[in-house]
């Protein structure tokens, strides 16, 4: 009898609980509606668009919210039409909006077919404060594409350099794999490819969608970094090379934004030409709360953070 009662809430308590829950939910919904109702313009500039309720033609132009992604894509196309010397690609990461979902990390892995142990854009999670005043912060860390990159002069064979787009690139067939650039980079933005595959040691599932037979074949298919098809083969680049984020140059050349930008659910990662004064990134890097990592080293990074 005692045991039976211990495991169940009294009926009246459950009802009260559900009523309370409903009340709280309604209050929260009203509160959030109020926020949107008070400052619609501010939200429209930064948040994803609301789902359309009718045909696009039925909406007037001032009710359609333009996703920042679309704005950045248009700006990207405009920038690509200008001479390369007039462009200055920068990335802006708004830490207030990053929710730590790691979608950018995964998108980068998928886009560049990164093997185990190679990462271009990890998201560092930071906890600070003392209970009960604690907070969390998520810091995505792509390559900073420094204008004064310490990794470049240490390369014994000029395999890494800033290309005409101002992006620090790696010439895979030229790289001897000495990893001096890994030591020189103050951001640990380079990782070496040690010839691992995800499917090593996994079960063989013939004709299945997983396992070595199918997934293993996928791993060996070419990747397209720097617009060159490179199948994964032992002893062939990029195996044995230093690897790094390149702002998805192959996508930019095709008029597309970097993979990490398009997959950011909070629109925390922005990309564009800082030389275009009307661009979103040019506006963002003029904010007073903007900063760059380890600026004291004089590396002059092209990745800006907003806190």
């Amino acid at each position: 009898m005692v045991d039976d009662q211990r495991g169940r809430l009294p009926e009246v308590d459950r009802r009260r609980f559900l009523q309370g829950l409903l009340g709280t939910g309604v209050a929260a919904a009203l509160a959030s509606y109020e926020v949107f109702a008070v400052e619609p313009a501010a939200v429209a500039a930064q948040d994803p668009p609301a789902a359309p309720t009718g045909p696009m033609t039925a909406l007037s132009s001032d009710t359609v919210q333009v996703d920042v992604l679309e704005r950045m894509r248009v700006e990207l196309l405009a920038a690509m039409a200008r001479p390369v010397a007039d462009r200055r690609w920068v990335m802006v990461i708004d830490l207030r909006k990053c929710v730590g979902c790691h979608a950018c990390t995964i998108a980068c892995v998928a886009e560049n077919k990164l093997p185990p142990g190679v990462v271009y854009r990890p998201v560092i999670e930071e906890e600070f404060g003392t209970y009960p005043n604690v907070g969390r912060r998520f810091i995505p860390r792509p390559c900073m594409q420094c204008d004064n990159p310490p990794c470049v002069p240490v390369c014994p064979v000029n395999a890494t350099f800033k290309n005409e787009d101002g992006v620090v690139v790696v010439d895979y067939p030229q790289c001897i794999g000495c990893r001096a650039c890994l030591t020189a980079c103050p951001y640990s933005a380079r990782t070496a490819d040690f010839n691992h595959v995800y499917t090593a040691g996994t079960p063989v599932a013939q004709d299945g969608i997983v396992g070595q037979d199918t997934a293993g074949r996928y791993e060996l298919l070419p990747m397209f970094e720097y617009q060159e098809a490179r199948p994964r083969e032992h002893g062939e680049s990029p195996v044995g090379n230093a690897r790094k984020c390149h702002f998805c140059l192959h996508r930019i050349k095709a008029g597309e934004l970097p993979a990490c930008v398009t997959t950011c659910i909070g629109r925390a990662t922005l990309f564009g030409d800082a030389n275009d004064p009307g661009s979103l990134v040019a506006q963002m890097i003029a904010l007073p709360s903007v900063f760059r990592l380890k600026e004291e080293l004089g590396t002059d990074p092209r990745v800006f953070y907003i806190s």
Partner: protein, 381 residues
């Protein structure tokens, strides 16, 4: 005694080469997949031992100049032993650093498409020139063609000092690494390399005689022992300077790296091997006239000093790289070769032991077969 030591060394060298077969095979067949260094601790045992062997080569050449360049009578007859050590240990260093490359087959690019602003490129060119100079010097000595010997030795000495300092600078230029970025490193390395060259000569004289005249040999061992003690005192001072400054500075990275070396999981490597075995014990033994004249004991002290210097190279490389450039980076994305805890893998040890075995074997075979050593070896034996 000499013959027994040589036999033992032959056996040990052959065993070491056999143990190295696994490592060589793994490295050549599967690349760097089975190493434990990675993208954060990106240089491991092979780089540390490259520093050690390259230092030994440079230091041995410095010692050879005492005979062939400065013509100090006491050192007469020791130059060829030191030169042969240079010729044997330099390839050992280059094999190790070659194995550390992700694409060792592309090493030719450093010669044909170099970036001379890179210290690595400068070192590759310098080591190659150094090897040629050392071989040329050895050839001239071996065949008795002593004309132009001194200018060649001057060139070799200059390169030996340059490559010694250059290795320090290779680390020191990295502003990203507080523990490396230290103007002391390029200043320290030539001194430490000279110490390794003298230690190796002490091993040679202690184990193999080298100088036929017993009285001169005794005096030579005493001089070498005292020189060794002075250099060990300098090394101890360097260690004090490095770690006391790091600890006093209270800067996050410098302090953490120093604490890692002194009190981390490998504290014994510093206190027992590098300081105890590598400095204190040999300094005590060699400073006393009675013990420093005992050949095998003095030779053993030379081995201890070399072990201490080799461990010292690991203390410079590993802890500095194991300090994360961002807190939380290692946890942000996990995978093979993305850790900060570094212990050399079996394959890395296998290659290192194999290279050590090959260098020892080459040295012994040279002692027995090269015409350079024949007459005096017989007398010494």
């Amino acid at each position: 005694m000499t013959r027994t030591i040589k036999r033992v060394l032959y056996v040990l060298a052959v065993v070491a080469v056999v143990l190295g077969i696994y490592g060589f095979g793994s490295r050549l067949l599967f690349g760097e997949r089975d190493v434990n260094y990675g993208s954060y601790v990106n240089w491991g045992l092979w780089v540390a031992m490259y520093l050690f062997f390259a230092g030994l080569a440079a230091g041995s050449f410095m010692v050879a100049t005492l005979d062939y360049l400065f013509e100090i009578p006491l050192f007469k007859g020791t130059g060829k032993w030191a030169l042969w050590a240079t010729v044997v240990t330099l390839p050992a260093a280059l094999v190790l650093i070659g194995f550390d490359l992700g694409h060792m087959e592309r090493i030719w690019k450093v010669y044909l498409q170099p970036n001379f602003s890179s210290l690595l490129a400068q070192l590759v060119w310098s080591y190659t020139t150094f090897l040629v100079v050392a071989l040329a010097t050895l050839g001239r000595v071996m065949f008795g063609r002593l004309r132009w010997l001194k200018p060649v030795m001057v060139l070799g000495l200059a390169i030996a000092i340059f490559v010694s300092g250059g290795v320090g600078a290779l680390l020191g230029v990295n502003a990203a690494r507080v523990s490396f970025q230290n103007a002391m490193l390029p200043a320290q390395f030539p001194v430490l390399n000279l110490a390794s060259g003298i230690a190796l000569l002490l091993v040679m004289i202690g184990f193999f005689g080298v100088v036929a005249d017993a009285e001169r040999r005794t005096r030579l061992m005493r001089v070498l022992s005292l020189a060794m003690v002075v250099l060990l005192a300098v090394k101890a001072y360097f260690l004090w300077v490095d770690y006391s400054q790091a600890l006093y500075s209270q800067t996050l990275e410098a302090t953490a790296v120093a604490e890692q070396v002194l009190f981390g999981p490998y504290w014994w490597a510093f206190w027992i091997l590098q300081l105890g075995l590598g400095v204190v014990v040999p300094a005590i033994v060699l400073v006393m006239p009675s013990t420093s004249r005992r050949g095998p004991l003095a030779g053993l002290m030379g081995v201890f000093v070399l072990v201490g210097l080799a461990v010292g190279r690991t203390s410079i490389i590993f802890p500095a790289l194991a300090f994360p450039e961002f807190e939380g980076l290692v946890e942000a994305f996990t995978g093979p070769h993305l850790g900060l805890d570094y212990t050399p893998s079996l394959m890395e040890w296998s290659v290192t032991v194999g290279v050590l075995g090959m260098a020892t074997l080459a040295y012994l075979v040279g002692m027995d077969r090269l015409p350079l050593f024949k007459p005096r070896t017989e007398v010494a034996a």
